[in-house]
Amino acid sequence: MGIIDVIDLKKYFPVKRKAFAKQEWLKAVDGITFSIKDGAVFALVGESGSGKSTVARLILRLSLPTSGSIVFQGDDIQKLRRDSLLQFRKSVQIIFQDPFASLNPRMTVFDTISEPLKIHKIVNKTDLKDRVISLLESVGLQADILNRYPHEFSGGQRQRICIARALAVSPKILVADEPLSALDVSIQAQILNILQGLQKQSNISFLFISHDLRVVQYFSDEVAVMYLGKIVEHAGTNDLFSRPFHPYTVELLSSAPRIKPDGRKREILKGDVPSPIDIPPGCPFHPRCPKRFDPCDRIMPELKETKGRFVSCHLY
């Protein structure tokens, strides 16, 4: 049991139906199970369209799952109402990918950061300003920006404001949906340092969604690799990066650029990700898999435990 448990989570979106055709579904998330341990960083990696962001939205209860459940402190978050839902909202916060879309352009920095404090009545009016300033300082911003508007800031500064807003309610879990990918590399390091500092100081658990493998290797404790809405491999960060099992993980890792090329031939994934509307039978990865053999195109491999990790591949 972790701080949040995701059990057999599925999210299907209906595809606009043509006349007389049967209803098709886009399987964005197709039966995933994982749990985030208290104070740990859990990373979800995968290509675009693998369902990572949908998982984030489901965990935040911004959309409801087709089936399966997300259990937070013993309660299925789908069943939360009013006070308990508000309590949940206070415990889980999000940082989005695009810092230009995640701040209300008509609200000042002060309004943005103080809003969650007001909603949850965390501080009284007289302390509000002090609290907002201390939040700004915790992300490396100065108090003199309080009355300025988002359009006056750079991407990195905006992302800091977003982090300050997320921290306002002292959340237990922070969902970071590709928080770095819209930023310059130098800014990425700064923001990553802020996140890491927070995690160490305040013992916040992270769901860290990324396709940047170097960052994941550096920051996370556990990694789950998603492919077409399913988790194909789930292991401790060191295990996974030192010896990936699943052929998809192998190729994903080998496609990441290295600072010091070791001369090893890089295996580049061929082909595109199949459409999540029309997922191949058997193992969803088999059309692109270099190691496919007899059962791959017929039988869907289960995610099973092998040598302290979870892999869904007929090879193991």
């Binding site: 701040l103 609200m107 359009h151």
Partner: protein, 283 residues
């Protein structure tokens, strides 16, 4: 710098828009100050001065009952602008409520409200107004309300579209995950960001409403004499067009000026409020 400062700055760079704005201001002032600055009473009949051409004592001439045209136009501008603003105000109010409900809640609420909008749109505005006026005694209030309740559909669609895109934006989702309720999200996060295009259409629609009112009054279905309005001054101008050109010319120019200036302001606002063009201005 505040957003409003940037918008004002951008707006003031557009010379046509500023010209339009000054004209609008001029018309508004004239309307407001009409009781103090109009040289004559607009309804006083002067039999000795029937249809006298523009001269020193009657700058815009007099009409077929010897009433001063300039004074009648000043008082008429009150009616025209009042109708323009109130009708659009009513339209915006209904449009925002319907559009916001449809766009924010979606689903069945959206379907029902938008089908209602479609039905309203199938009714030609002018004929609906004519039908209403055939039943109810035409008065300024009736005309304002009728124009208002027949022209909110476009605004509702606009607001709905804005709500549909805005409610999925990250900052709205962020507010939601901070525990903000629907009321807070609608009024603090979505509506303020949805209003810019409404302001723009509102200015265009004021021009439309002024034209519509003038048209109705011209046909004798709007503001009833002796109350002056630009439209009904034109009517008397039409009857005397061969002998008294000033009766049609000046109110015609006034209507043209009003419609044109509101349209210019609308266009200027549209460009100034376009967020895609911000930022570019800073460098």
């Amino acid at each position: 710098m505040k957003l409003s400062t940037i918008i004002i700055k951008r707006f003031s760079k557009n010379k046509l828009a500023v010209t339009g704005f000054c004209t609008v201001l001029f018309l508004l002032l004239t309307a407001l100050l009409a009781p103090f600055i109009s040289p004559y009473d607009p309804t006083t009949i002067d039999i000795n001065n029937i249809l006298s051409p523009p001269a020193k004592n009657h700058i815009f001439g007099t009409d077929e009952l010897g009433r001063d045209v300039l004074s009648r136009m000043m008082w008429g501008s009150r009616i025209s602008l009042q109708v323009g603003f109130m009708a659009v105000g009513i339209a915006i109010l209904i449009g925002i409520i319907v559009g916001a409900l449809a766009g924010y809640y979606g689903g069945i609420v959206d379907s029902i409200l938008m089908r209602f909008v479609d039905i309203m749109l199938t009714i030609p505005t002018l004929f609906l107004i004519l039908a209403v006026i055939a039943i109810v005694e035409p008065s300024i209030t009736v005309i304002m309300v009728v124009i208002g309740i027949t022209s909110w559909m476009g605004i509702a669609r606009l607001i709905r579209a804005e709500f549909l895109t805005l409610k999925e934006r990250d900052f709205v989702l962020g507010a939601k995950s901070s525990g903000a309720g629907n009321t807070r999200i609608i009024f603090r996060h979505v509506l303020p960001n949805a209003l810019a295009p409404v302001f723009v259409t509102a200015t265009f629609r004021i021009a439309g409403a002024i034209l519509l009112e003038s048209g109705l009054s011209f046909l004798g279905l709007g503001v009833q004499p002796p109350t002056p309005s630009w439209g009904n001054i034109l009517t008397s101008g039409k009857d005397n067009i061969e002998i008294a050109w000033w009766l049609s010319f000046y109110p015609g120019i006034a209507i043209l000026m009003a419609a044109l200036s509101y349209n210019l302001v609308g266009e200027g606002l549209r460009d100034a409020l376009d967020p895609r063009l911000w930022g570019a201005e800073e460098e």
